[in-house]
C-alpha cells in the first residue's frame, strides 16, 4: 500500500514540475498560470476565499448532500419495502440518472433566481439518483437465508430490517457516498457559475473576466482540497464499518 502511495506521489510531483516548467517557458500567467503562482494567489486572496466564498460553497455542498442522502434513504427503503413503489420509481430513476443535471441548472436559476436554494437543488439532483439506486440494490442484496434465520428466532420485520438489511446495504451506501461526493462539489461550483453572486465557483468565473489566471485556479484548488478531505473522511469511515463488503 505504502509503495503504491509513493508511486502516485512521484507521478503527481512530476506533473506539477512539468506544469511549472511549461508555465515558466510560456510565461503568460493568464493563459497558463504556474502551480507556484496559484498557491501564492490563494494565499494573497485568503481572506475572501476562505472567509467569504468558501463558507457559501461549503454550505451548498453540505446541505445539498445531506438532503440528498435523506431523500435517498427514505426512497430506497420505501422501494425495498413496497413493490408498488419499486415498480413506480425504479425505471424512472434509472432513466433520470442519465439527465445531465448541469445542463438543466439554468432552469433552477429561472425559477429561484440567484439563490442558494437553486444551487442546493442542483446538488441534490446531481447525487440522489445514484445514492438511492445503490442503497436500494444494497437492501435487495440481503441474503434470504439470513432473513429466514431471523424469522425462526422470532424477529419482527423491523428487527430484520435493522439487524440484517441495513448492515447488508451499509457498504453500498458508503460506496455511493464516495462516488457522489465529488459530483456534489462539482455541481455546487458549476451552479455558482451559472447563477450566483457569491461562492468559489462564482469567484472563479469573475476572475476569468479580469484575465487573472492564478485567481481562476485558486478556488479550483480549494474545491479540490475539499473533495479530497471529504473522500478521506469517507474512506476512514469505510475502513471502520464497511470492511465486510465482500462477505455480504
Amino acid at each position: 500500500m505504502k509503495k503504491r502511495h509513493l508511486a502516485a506521489s512521484i507521478l503527481a510531483i512530476v506533473i506539477l514540475v512539468l506544469w511549472q516548467l511549461l508555465a515558466m517557458k510560456v510565461n503568460i500567467p493568464h493563459i497558463i498560470p504556474s502551480p507556484v503562482a496559484i498557491v501564492k494567489k490563494t494565499w494573497e486572496l485568503r481572506e475572501t476565499l476562505f472567509l467569504v466564498q468558501l463558507p457559501v460553497t461549503l454550505y451548498t455542498i453540505v446541505v445539498g448532500f445531506l438532503i440528498s442522502v435523506g431523500i435517498s434513504l427514505v426512497l430506497a427503503t420505501a422501494m425495498e419495502e413496497f413493490e408498488v413503489v419499486e415498480a413506480m420509481f425504479y425505471p424512472v430513476l434509472v432513466v433520470t440518472q442519465t439527465i445531465p443535471v448541469m445542463c438543466i441548472s439554468p432552469l433552477f436559476v429561472l425559477w429561484f433566481g440567484y439563490t442558494q436554494t437553486a444551487r442546493i437543488i442542483a446538488v441534490v439532483l446531481a447525487t440522489f439518483f445514484a445514492i438511492t439506486l445503490n442503497v436500494f440494490d444494497g437492501l435487495k442484496r440481503t441474503d434470504v437465508r439470513k432473513i429466514e434465520l431471523m424469522q425462526t428466532i422470532g424477529a419482527s420485520a423491523l428487527q430484520i430490517f435493522l439487524h440484517v438489511k441495513v448492515p447488508t446495504a451499509l457498504p453500498m451506501f458508503l460506496t455511493a457516498l464516495k462516488m457522489t461526493l465529488p459530483w456534489a462539489v462539482i455541481d455546487a461550483a458549476v451552479a455558482e457559475w451559472l447563477g450566483a453572486n457569491e461562492g468559489l465557483g462564482y469567484f472563479s468565473k469573475r476572475m476569468i473576466s479580469t484575465m487573472d489566471g492564478p485567481a481562476v485556479f485558486a478556488p479550483v484548488l480549494i474545491l479540490t482540497i475539499i473533495a479530497l478531505m471529504g473522500m478521506a473522511i469517507l474512506n476512514l469511515i469505510d475502513k471502520k464499518v464497511g470492511i465486510y463488503r465482500s462477505e455480504v
Partner: protein, 243 residues
C-alpha cells in the same frame, strides 16, 4: 414426546406434486435423530415445516419444545463479532444487555471459543464458525435443535472432529437434536435413530435404530452389525437416487 407429525401433507405452491403426503412420525424427547435421504427428498422441507417457515396444507405438526434452527451454512453475520453473533437471538428477545453478555460468555466457553469473543467470522476456521453457529442456536433457549447438514461444508478431517464434538455436546446438554444429513457414516455415528426419507411424495419414514451406546467411539463403526446396517442403508438410498 417432543415432536409429532400427524397426517401432514405439503406441496410447494408452484409445483404440481406433493413433497410429503399423509406423513406421520414422532420424535422422543432427548434423543438424537437423523433425517437421511437423497437430495430433494423433503428432509429440509420437514425442517422448514417444524420451524414454521412453511405451513402444511393438511395435517398437524405438534411441537412441544422450543426449536432452534442451525442452517446448513453457518450464516454468521460478517458485521458482528463472535459475541454479537451469539447474542442475536437474545437481542431479538430483548434480553437486558448485562444478562445477554453473561449468557453469551457462558455459551462461548461451552463451545470452546473463549478469547475469540471479539473476533469476526472471517478470522475463524470453518469448524470454529460452526461452533459459533451452534452457540447462537443454543442462545435461542431452544430445547430442540434442528441441525440442517451442519458439517457438509467442512473438510473431512474437520467434519470428523466436529461430529465427535457434537456427540459430546449432546451428552452434556440434555436437548433433543434433529439432524439432517445425506452422509450415511455421519447418520450412523451420531444418531440413536435414523429416519429415512423415501418416495415421491414421502408417505412414511423408514425407521432404523442404531444399536450403539450414547458414549460411542468411532471404532464401534467397524462392528459387523453396524457395517451391515450401513450397507442396508446405502442400498435403500441408492434405490431412491436418480442419476
Amino acid at each position: 414426546m417432543a415432536l409429532k407429525f400427524k397426517n401432514v401433507t405439503f406441496r410447494y405452491e408452484d409445483e404440481p406434486d406433493c413433497i410429503m403426503e399423509n406423513l406421520s412420525f414422532e420424535i422422543e424427547k432427548g434423543g438424537l435423530t437423523s433425517f437421511i435421504g437423497a437430495s430433494g427428498c423433503g428432509k429440509s422441507t420437514a425442517f422448514r415445516l417444524i420451524n414454521g417457515l412453511l405451513t402444511p396444507q393438511e395435517g398437524e405438526i405438534i411441537c412441544e419444545e422450543k426449536c432452534g434452527y442451525m442452517p446448513q451454512h453457518d450464516l454468521l453475520f460478517p458485521w458482528k463479532n463472535v459475541e454479537q453473533n451469539v447474542m442475536i437471538p437474545l437481542v431479538v428477545q430483548k434480553v437486558a444487555k448485562a444478562k445477554r453478555k453473561a449468557m453469551a460468555a457462558e455459551l462461548i466457553s461451552r463451545v470452546g471459543l473463549e478469547g475469540c469473543e471479539k473476533k469476526y467470522p472471517k478470522e475463524l476456521s470453518g469448524g470454529m464458525r460452526q461452533r459459533v453457529a451452534f452457540a447462537r442456536t443454543l442462545s435461542t433457549g431452544a430445547n430442540m435443535l434442528l441441525l440442517d447438514e451442519p458439517f457438509s461444508a467442512l473438510d473431512s478431517i474437520t467434519r470428523v472432529s466436529m461430529q465427535e464434538w457434537l456427540l459430546e455436546q449432546w451428552r452434556a446438554l440434555d436437548k433433543t437434536i434433529l439432524l439432517v444429513t445425506h452422509d450415511v457414516d455421519e447418520a450412523v455415528f451420531l444418531s440413536e435413530r435414523i429416519l429415512v426419507f423415501t418416495g415421491h411424495p414421502v408417505k412414511q419414514l423408514m425407521e432404523i435404530p442404531v444399536p450403539l451406546p450414547k458414549d460411542r467411539t468411532r471404532s464401534m463403526l467397524l462392528r459387523p452389525e453396524i457395517i451391515k446396517l450401513k450397507e442396508e442403508l446405502i442400498k435403500v438410498l441408492r434405490q431412491e437416487a436418480t442419476l
